[in-house]
């Protein structure tokens, strides 16, 4: 079994000929102006396979100019697997991402520095001291190992949350660059049985993380069948520059055949054209060149087409996720991935504002609905992210889970069959024959089968909006459930064989 997500009838924003035009534009970009590459191995690999590569004099850094011929791209699109399996500690939670099938799964994301706590405070009216209301207040904390564990614990119990992508940057005093990777993967894997995905801070830690994953999966062979982790790399710094260290990470991960997201995140108006066609042509070129690299180092290496296009704000050039263009860019990228039949790691659900509330809900629901409708195989950033990905709020994640379940319900395919129609006609006739003329009796079986949406679970009955307080209660409830830790012997083995793990994490 695998997690099913939701199958959609994709909304096509671009017409087929527009998809083709953008594909051609991306190829044109890859040949002229081409790519600036700061990684020697990548430059060599591309040169060996027919790209035109020439050194670019740059003070303090090795840099090459690459002109990528169409053949490299079409070959890569051919050899990259169309179906990628993301495994899980509990294999029933694995995800089968099929580039040919618009089935959407939802994941968290980012590496937010801040963790936003929602507290409850009582306020008394100045006009009438008899009136006292509970109001949510917000407290900004740092991301830590314990909070990452909490987020993974929430993920385990929230049904729409299909895969755990590290939510916060762990900034404890005993975390260093050298032990960050093993600890963040350990904490995530020890608190959820769903798929765990993350970026890598230090390439030198790759083998330790992989060793840990082998142990957890039950050996190297089992890991191949059930890769419980995967990696994300931003190979490209927009516009069109291949970064030295992340490119090296991509090469190493691809060599090992571990699932890898090649993600690019240009900002329309600052690091990419603000126009829809220009933005999509550029990001598509950026992702394709990353995917090509993985296929050149290891034909058939599992990769996801990772599109994270955003728009720059015009008042401060920060990245913006709440504007409509964000959705246009993202939907177009999903279509490009589908054109290549590659599984797509897409983006949705972030708000620009720092705290949960009306703006946050509008902004995130907007993209939750629209990007889901486009039918990517995987949507990251979908839980808890505020302040343009700089803040993760667990209470917001609980709300997102509910909202996503509503979206999933909405996008399900209509069932219109001859049988159903005749049943419905029968209903209409029978009801019209009664004196009360109500259909309620016919709802009962559907009500029990879960076919009918429940009311909003955090609704307030009085004139004060208690959504956040209710969601917070729900969060507390979940966090009081026992965590799904790994079996003792597995943890022992991990601690014996993987250096760098904090001993204080043994029980968490």
């Amino acid at each position: 079994m695998a997690r099913q997500g939701v199958l959609v009838e994709p909304y096509q924003r671009l017409k087929p000929e527009q998809v083709e035009q953008i594909h051609q534009a991306s190829l044109a970009i890859l040949s002229q102006p081409g790519i600036l590459c700061f990684n020697r191995s990548a430059a060599e690999v591309f040169a060996d396979h027919g790209a035109e590569v020439s050194p670019v004099p740059q003070p303090g850094a090795d840099c090459w100019h690459l002109q990528i011929p169409e053949k490299i791209i079409t070959d890569a699109v051919e050899t990259a697997p169309k179906v990628v399996k993301l495994g899980a500690r509990d294999e029933n939670n694995c995800l089968i991402l099929d580039g040919n099938e618009p089935r959407v799964r939802f994941a968290s994301g980012s590496e937010a520095n801040n963790w936003l706590e929602v507290d409850v405070d009582a306020f008394v009216s100045r006009r009438n001291p008899d009136i006292e209301v509970d109001v949510p207040t917000f407290r900004v904390e740092k991301g830590t190992v314990d909070r990452l564990a909490k987020a993974a614990h929430l993920c385990e119990h929230l049904d729409s949350w299909d895969s755990f992508l590290r939510t916060v940057n762990i900034q404890d005093d005993d975390i260093t660059d050298d032990n960050k990777d093993v600890n963040k993967f350990f904490v995530a894997l020890n608190n959820t049985t769903k798929h765990v995905m993350s970026g890598l801070t230090e390439l030198s830690q790759l083998s330790n993380v992989v060793r840990m994953s082998h142990i957890i999966a039950g050996g190297e062979d089992r890991f191949r069948e059930n890769p419980v982790i995967s990696f994300i790399t931003c190979v490209i710094k927009s516009p069109l520059q291949m970064v030295d260290d992340t490119t090296q990470t991509a090469i190493e991960v691809a060599r090992r055949g571990i699932p890898l997201v090649i993600s690019s995140s240009p900002q329309g108006g600052s690091t990419a054209p603000i126009t829809e066609d220009g933005m999509v042509a550029q990001i598509n070129a950026e992702i394709l060149v990353g995917i090509a690299l993985t296929q050149l180092v290891n034909k058939g290496a599992p990769v996801l087409y990772g599109s994270v296009p955003v728009r720059a704000r015009m008042d401060n050039l920060y990245d913006s996720y709440g504007v409509p263009e964000f959705n246009q860019y993202n939907i177009d990228c999903v279509q490009m991935a589908r054109y290549y039949r590659l599984p797509c790691y897409s983006t949705g659900g972030v708000s620009d504002i720092r705290v949960p509330g009306i703006q946050a809900s509008v902004e995130r629901l907007f993209s939750h609905i629209l990007v889901t409708l486009a039918g990517p195989q995987y949507i990251h950033y979908a839980f808890g992210l505020l302040e343009r990905t700089n803040t993760f709020c667990p209470v917001q994640a609980v709300l997102d889970d509910t909202h996503i379940s509503m979206v999933k319900r909405f996008v399900r395919q209509p069932i219109v069959t001859a049988d159903r129609i005749s049943e419905s006609l029968e209903q209409v006739r029978r009801v019209m024959g009664t004196s009360h003329k109500l259909y309620v009796r016919f709802v009962r079986s559907a009500l029990r089968s879960g076919e009918i949406a429940p009311p909003y679970p955090f609704e307030s009955k009085d004139t004060v909006d208690k959504t956040l307080l209710r969601a917070r209660e729900r969060m507390e409830e979940i966090l009081s459930l026992p965590p799904s830790h790994m079996a003792e012997p597995v943890v022992d083995k991990v601690f014996q064989e993987v250096p760098g793990l904090l001993t204080r994490l043994r029980g968490s």
């Binding site: 003070p59 303090g60 850094a61 520095n113 940057n169 900034q171 660059d177 960050k180 801070t201 710094k237 970064v243 900002q267 108006g269 600052s270 690091t271 704000r313 015009m314 008042d315 401060n316 050039l317 700089n390």
Partner: protein, 230 residues
């Protein structure tokens, strides 16, 4: 004649046009000389350098600032104008030294080691150039020692460092220590910025200032500059 030229320079700053190929806000500007060509022309015609800077570039930039304050201009407009002033200043620079006019000061900017985020740093650079500072951009992923050497060679009055990752902000500290060890710390005023850092962090590592955005960066530099004079 000179007045016309100066007001054209000013107008092109307001329109954010560096060169003749650039568009502005008004129709039909493409093909007409931009700030660079006009500045060259002013030089060959022997227009007073201080007038070019004050009556052309600075006055233009002041108007841009007002338009930004009132919400008529957005950041991209501001940047286009600041970039225009920077380009004109680059043309004027060799002549300034001869005539004894000084720029507001020289600043080295860099994104620190291990960090590739440079959008913010580039914005800050453009705005500082537009405000009349000479900016030397060392790039991103710059090691403490490289910064020390650049400070030794370039002898700037200011150093600006940017970090967006919590894992790289420590290199600001390392750089300041390396400068201290090389006996260069008191030769430069240091300002820092970027999403990872804060006012408190700046104080804790002994930087002279923190800028939350590019405009603050300019304000802080101006303030530091005044305190140096005094």
């Amino acid at each position: 004649m000179t007045e016309d030229l100066l007001s054209l320079i000013k107008e092109n700053v307001i329109q954010g046009r560096i060169a003749q190929d650039d568009e502005g806000f008004d129709e039909g500007l493409v093909g007409q000389p931009g700030a660079s060509e006009l500045t060259e022309k002013a030089l060959t015609e022997g227009v007073n350098l201080e007038d070019i800077i004050n009556k052309g570039l600075t006055e233009g930039m002041n108007i841009v600032g007002q338009k930004f304050e009132t919400g008529e201009y957005y950041i991209p407009d501001m940047l286009a104008s600041a970039e225009t002033v920077g380009a004109a200043m680059e043309i004027l620079e060799p002549h300034l030294a001869q005539s004894g006019i000084k720029s507001k000061g020289k600043i080295l900017v860099a994104t620190v080691k291990g960090d590739l985020h440079d959008i913010g740093k580039n914005i800050v650079s453009i705005l500082l150039r537009g405000a009349g500072y000479t900016v030397k951009d060392l790039g991103n992923d710059i090691a403490p020692q490289t910064i020390v050497e650049a400070v030794r060679e370039e002898r700037p009055q200011f150093l600006g460092m940017s970090a967006l990752l919590t894992s790289t902000m420590i290199h600001m500290n390392n750089t300041i220590e390396a400068l201290t060890e090389s006996g260069l710390r008191d030769k430069v005023k240091i300002i820092i910025g970027g999403a990872a850092v804060s006012e408190e962090f700046a104080q804790s590592i002994g930087a002279n200032g923190y800028g939350a955005d590019g405009f603050q960066a300019v304000k802080i530099m101006d303030a530091l500059r005044n305190s140096m004079k005094g």
